[in-house]
Amino acid sequence: MSGALSILVIDDNKIRASIIEQGLHDAGHDQVILVHQMDGLVRQIADINPDVIVIDLENPNRDQLEHMFQVSRAVRRPIAMFVDKADSHSIEAAVDAGVSAYVVDGLKRERVKPILDMAISRFRAFSRLTAELEEARTELADRKTIDRAKGIVMKSKGLSEQEAYDLLRRTAMKQSRKIIDVAQSLVIASGLLED
C-alpha cells in the first residue's frame, strides 16, 4: 500500500468530529471525510472507499456498521478492528477514550497506528474540554446562587453586601458546610416562604 489514506470519521458530535478532522489534517492526512448520520451509509462508504473508519462508541449504530462490513457487496474487503487485534494496549486506550477504529483493507499497522493514536488523543482532549466547560458552568451558577442569597440576607437583615457575605461564610464554617450549600438552602427556604 502506498499513497494517501482516506479516513472516514463517523461521529454524531459535530464539534468532536471536526476536532479529529483538524488533528488528522495537521498530521498530513488530507483525505478526511466526516459523516454525522448513518442513513444511506452503505452507499456512502462505497463512494468514499475509505481505508480506515473511525467511529465513536456512543453511536448506537455500531452494530449496523459491523453488519454492513459482513454482508455488503459495497464493502467487500476484509475488515480488521482497531489496528491489530494483538495490540491490546491500543485497544484498551481506544475503548477507554470512547472510540473504535476499523481498518478496511488490511493496512500495515505502522501506517494506521498514528491515526488511531490521534483519534484517541483528540477524544481525550474533547472530554477534558467538556469537563472544563461543565465546571465553568457550575461555577457561574454557584456565583449566581450566592449573589441571590446575599441579596436575601441584605434585605431581611438590613446588612451591607460585605456583611451579608461574611454572615453566610461564618454560618457555613460553623456548620462545616460549603458556602454554596448554605446559600442554596437559603434560596430554597426563602422561595418556600414567599409562596
Binding site: D39, N61, D63, D96, Y102
Partner: protein, 369 residues
C-alpha cells in the same frame, strides 16, 4: 456501603430482559450474596463485546449467540466466553408495518400470531410485490449474531421465504426500530420488548408473531463472562448465579410486575414510559389496535431449572450460524459450543442435582433439534 462486598461491574443494554440484573443490583439480591453489583448502561452490542473483552466489564447482559460468536472468533475483538445462566426466555416479537399487516390479514394471516399462518400470508404478499416489480421488503434485527436474526430467518425459511433472496435483512439498534418503521425505512423487524409494544402503541406497527410461538421457552439473553474471568473468580460467579436466580424468581411473580415496570422505566435504566413495559411483563400482549392476547411466559424470568443453559440451546444457535453461512461446521467448534452452554457451573452454584434430562428442541414447524 460495606467494603467487604466483592465488586462486580456488569454491562447491560436497556431492554426489559435486563430485569434480572437490575433487580439483583437495585433490590438487594446481589448484596445478600456478598456482591456489590454495579450496572453500566451501553448503547450497542458491539460495545458490550468490546468492553468485556478489554476487561472493563466483569460480566454482561448478552444476546445468547454472542458468547458462541466470540469463542469461535467470528467477530472482531473475540475472546473465549461462557454463558453460565439464562437471564431471560422469550420476550421477542416480529412486528410489521400497519400497512403490510393489512395486506397480510387480507391474505388470511392469523390475528393471534400463529407463525405458520402469518408466514404463509407474508409469502403471498412477497410474491405479489415481486410480480409488481416492487423492491424487496426490508426487515430489521438487532445484531447479526442474535436470537432475533435466527428467529426471523427461521420463521421466513420455514414458511417458504428465502431470507437472503426474497427480503432484505438489516441491523438497527433496538430503540430505533419503531421510528424506522414509522418513517418507512423498515417494513418489519424482530426485536425484544418493549420495542414491539412501542410500535403497536404508536399505531404504526402490528405484531405478526412472537418468539414464544416460534420456539417456546427459548433462551434470549444470557449472563456472559469470559472464560478467563470465570476461571479466576469461581466463588464470585457462583454468588452471582445465586443472586440472579433469586432476582429472577422475584421478577417472575406476577404481583411484582408493576413495581418492576416502574423500576425499569427509570431514566437511568430503560428511560421509557412505564406503561409500555407492562404487556411483556404480564404476558398481556397488545398484538394490534383491536387485539389483546394473553401469552403465558411471553417473556419469562425464572430461577431453578428453566434458567439453566443447556448444550442443546448452544447447538441450535450454532446450527443457525452454519445454516446462514456465518461459519463452517467443525467437530472442534461443536465441542466448544457444548462447553459454552454447559449447565455445570449453574447446577453447582444452586446445588441442583436433578435437572431434567436434556430435552430436544421443538420448533413451530415440528422440526426437532
Amino acid at each position: 456501603m460495606e467494603t467487604n462486598l466483592k465488586p462486580v461491574i456488569a454491562g447491560f443494554i436497556p431492554l426489559l430482559d435486563s430485569a434480572v440484573l437490575v433487580a439483583a443490583s437495585e433490590l438487594g439480591f446481589a448484596e445478600r450474596e456478598g456482591v456489590a453489583l454495579k450496572l453500566v448502561r451501553e448503547t450497542s452490542w458491539a460495545n458490550i463485546r468490546d468492553r468485556i473483552a478489554v476487561g472493563h466489564f466483569d460480566i454482561a447482559h448478552m444476546l445468547a449467540p454472542m458468547p458462541i460468536a466470540a469463542s469461535l472468533n467470528l467477530t472482531s475483538l473475540s475472546v473465549p466466553m461462557l454463558a453460565p445462566m439464562l437471564l431471560g426466555l422469550g420476550g421477542n416479537a416480529i412486528t410489521v408495518a400497519a400497512g403490510l399487516w393489512k395486506e397480510m390479514a387480507a391474505a388470511g394471516a392469523d390475528p393471534g400470531g400463529d407463525p405458520a399462518s402469518t408466514g404463509r400470508a407474508l409469502g403471498e404478499i412477497i410474491t405479489l410485490h415481486h410480480g409488481a416489480g416492487a423492491p424487496p421488503l426490508r426487515f430489521g434485527v438487532v445484531h447479526p449474531f442474535s436470537g432475533h436474526a435466527y428467529e426471523l430467518r427461521y420463521w421466513l425459511a420455514a414458511t417458504g421465504i428465502d431470507p437472503d433472496k426474497d427480503v432484505e435483512i438489516t441491523v438497527l439498534a433496538p430503540q430505533l426500530m419503531a421510528d424506522a418503521l414509522a418513517a418507512g425505512q423498515l417494513d418489519g423487524y424482530c426485536v425484544g420488548e418493549p420495542w414491539n409494544t412501542a410500535a403497536v402503541a404508536a399505531g404504526t406497527g402490528r405484531i405478526a408473531t412472537y418468539k414464544q410461538a416460534i420456539w417456546p421457552d427459548s433462551p434470549e439473553k444470557v449472563l456472559g463472562v469470559t472464560e478467563k474471568w470465570a476461571e479466576a473468580n469461581p466463588d464470585t460467579l457462583a454468588a452471582l448465579v445465586r443472586a440472579f436466580s433469586a432476582a429472577a424468581d422475584w421478577c417472575a411473580v406476577p404481583d411484582n410486575a408493576p413495581q418492576l415496570a416502574e423500576l425499569l422505566s427509570r431514566p437511568d435504566l430503560l428511560a421509557c414510559d412505564r406503561e409500555i413495559c407492562l404487556p411483556a411483563l404480564t404476558g398481556r400482549m397488545q398484538l394490534g389496535p383491536d387485539l389483546q392476547k394473553h401469552v403465558p411466559d411471553f417473556l419469562a424470568f425464572s430461577g431453578g431449572a428453566k434458567a439453566a443453559p443447556m448444550a442443546v440451546h448452544g447447538k441450535w444457535f450454532y446450527e443457525q450460524m452454519v445454516r446462514w453461512g456465518q461459519t463452517d461446521r467443525t467437530a472442534e467448534s461443536a465441542r466448544k459450543v457444548e462447553q459454552i452452554f454447559s449447565s455445570a457451573a449453574y447446577r453447582s452454584a444452586l446445588g441442583l442435582t436433578d435437572l431434567p434430562s436434556e430435552n430436544s428442541i421443538r420448533m413451530f414447524d415440528g422440526k426437532r433439534f
